[in-house]
């Protein structure tokens, strides 16, 4: 058995999990623009792709805090 994650990081873990979900749902109005375009793609699409690609990093960080890897 691995040591149980300390409850001190509970808030941090919850926050790390909530950030990508919020960015891709209620946070979408923040990225809802055409300009600036990145590599030709409209900003809204870039916003979503960027957050999808960042999601594994957030999951990794939560797993790290929970000592799963």
């Amino acid at each position: 058995m691995r040591p149980a994650p300390s409850s001190g990081t509970l808030l941090l873990r919850g926050l790390l999990a909530a950030i990508p979900i919020a960015a891709l749902s209620i946070g979408v109005p923040l990225g809802n623009r055409v300009e600036p375009r990145i590599l030709g793609a409209p900003f809204l699409l870039c916003w979503i792709v960027a957050w999808v690609l960042l999601t594994p990093a957030f999951i990794w960080a939560v797993g790290r805090l929970e000592r799963h890897w």
Binding site: A17, P20, I21, L24, S25, I26, V28, P29, N32, R33, V34, R37, L39, G40, A41, P42, L44, L45, I48, V49, W51, V52, L53, T55, P56, F58, I59, W60, V62, G63, H68, W69
Partner: protein, 473 residues
């Protein structure tokens, strides 16, 4: 002639995939644990392949392109909800797996039965899941028919081809079980990846010079197509946010998803998968580019024809062997998830309805045999349902999406709220369905919010109230 070439390629790829998978499972002895949940032995990569294989269906393949063709930016929700679903999966799937491992569970209804100590709840969930699975399989058959019709250049009867392909698939599931689906997913994932890269990169490059130039054209012709409308407008930001959250919540609640979760070797296998699945998601999203390109190349399609938009482009401007490969990818995107659905539907009936309720086929040998027989029966039912109700299938899909989401409050309550009771969970599901399905069928979105959310709200409310007045676990 071209139709014969393309259809032959589809036949060779589908049969080759099935042959490959049968070779993969040739030494496996089938008991119920092996047949339904892969012996709980799948490692990170094998499980990743299986999950990508069953998650990305014809809806991903045809639907994303169709939605971006007709709507533009609202189609981006498909990308967003997958990633959100994987964050939720990181927390919930290891917990479900642990309960499954400790209690030797086979199905999703088993989970409800165990956690709430109620056979009646398990049987009810089993019947509901079964009813939701049949139209969902039928949707895959509709997708398959579109693909085979276009691959045959309209010269062949696609309905007969669908019946043949689906019969072969049912026999494959009969013999190979969940492990067979995982092996077949290896081929499916690779071919679908090649097809989406072709559709998303090669088509824009050929017609516009680059994907970037394609976006220039879209913005010139339809300036508002690549952003969302504000607030509670039709398909506006409120619709987007609520649909992303709702779809993410329902994501792992299908009966076949429980089978896949149980098949993991360990809890960390599922956590790693939650981290790795967004990468496949990103590639699949190239279908957005294909749909937007098609909107410029062949504008003006209406109704269900939008789902075929990019296939029309391939059919008209590319040689038949390329169409054959693209159609093969689409056919596997229909058949592989369908194989997991058949197994999921058959297993809930064998284990929870026949076994737990009527006491039939409870030893290992007869349970494997009954599940196999039911795979064929579910396949026949789905095929019959599809032949009879072809036109209304899309509306029935609403039952599936709104339906499976209603299982989530019970799963969360099982872990998070000791006071939750079987009556609370069961009546909560009933209330959620009673509210969400009519709203969805009538296309009513209060304040621009996805109607499934209203159903989910009533579900949670009933779950809490009824649990408070009934006796606890």
């Amino acid at each position: 002639m071209s139709g014969a070439v393309a259809l032959s390629i589809v036949a060779v790829v589908v049969l080759g995939t099935i042959g490959f998978a049968l070779f993969g499972v040739r030494r496996v002895r089938m008991d119920p644990q092996q047949y339904i949940v892969g012996g709980r032995s799948f490692g990170t990569i094998f499980l990743w392949v299986l999950l990508a294989g069953e998650i990305y269906t014809t809806f991903t393949f045809l639907g994303i392109a169709g939605l971006s063709y007709s709507q533009g930016a609202p189609a981006f929700y498909v990308m967003a909800y997958g990633a959100c679903a994987y964050v939720i999966a990181y927390f919930i799937t290891p917990a479900i797996w642990r309960v499954g491992k400790e209690n030797n569970l086979l199905t999703g209804p088993d989970f409800f039965e165990t956690m709430f100590d109620s056979r009646a709840l398990g049987v009810s969930v089993a019947i509901l899941q079964f009813l939701m699975i049949v139209p969902y399989v039928a949707v895959q058959l509709s997708g398959l028919q579109i693909l085979l019709h276009i691959a045959g250049y309209g010269a062949y009867n696609a309905t007969i081809s669908v019946c043949i392909a689906f019969t072969v698939l049912a026999l494959f599931v009969f013999s190979a079980g969940l492990r067979g689906t995982a092996w077949a997913s290896i081929v499916k994932d690779v071919i679908v990846l090649l097809a989406v890269i072709f559709a998303g990169i090669a088509i824009p490059v050929r017609f516009f010079g680059s994907p970037s130039a394609m976006f220039d054209r879209v913005l010139r012709v339809h300036p508002q197509m690549l952003v969302l409308a504000h607030g509670n407008a039709y398909h506006g930001t409120i619709w987007f946010a609520s649909t992303v959250l709702l779809s993410a919540i329902g994501f792992f609640m299908g009966p076949h998803s429980f089978n896949a979760v149980y098949s993991a070797r360990g809890a960390d296998t599922l956590r790693r998968n939650a981290m790795l699945l967004p990468f496949y998601q990103c590639f699949v999203s190239l279908m957005l580019f294909a749909g937007l390109s098609a909107a410029l190349i062949t504008p003006g399609l209406k109704g269900t024809a939008v789902d075929q938009s990019f296939l029309f482009v391939v059919q008209r401007y590319y040689p038949s062997w390329i169409l054959g490969i693209i159609a093969s990818a689409g056919a596997l995107a229909a058949l592989i998830p369908a194989s997991a659905l058949l197994l999921g539907g058959a297993s809930v009936i064998t284990k929870n309805v026949a076994g737990d309720w009527f006491g039939i086929a409870t030893d290992d040998r007869s349970r494997t045999r009954l599940t196999r027989a039911l795979v064929l029966l579910v396949a026949l039912l789905a095929l019959g349902f599809w032949l009879v109700a072809q036109k209304t299938v899309v509306e029935l899909l609403l039952l599936y999406y709104n339906g499976i989401t209603q299982f989530m409050p019970g799963v969360v309550a099982a872990f998070a709220w000791r006071r939750a009771t079987a009556w609370g969970v069961g009546l909560g599901i009933a209330a959620g369905l009673a509210v969400a399905v009519p709203l969805a069928a009538l296309n009513i979105s209060p304040l621009g919010i996805n109607p499934g959310f209203v159903g989910l709200g009533s579900n949670v409310l009933v779950l809490i109230l009824v649990s408070l007045v009934t006796r606890g676990r």
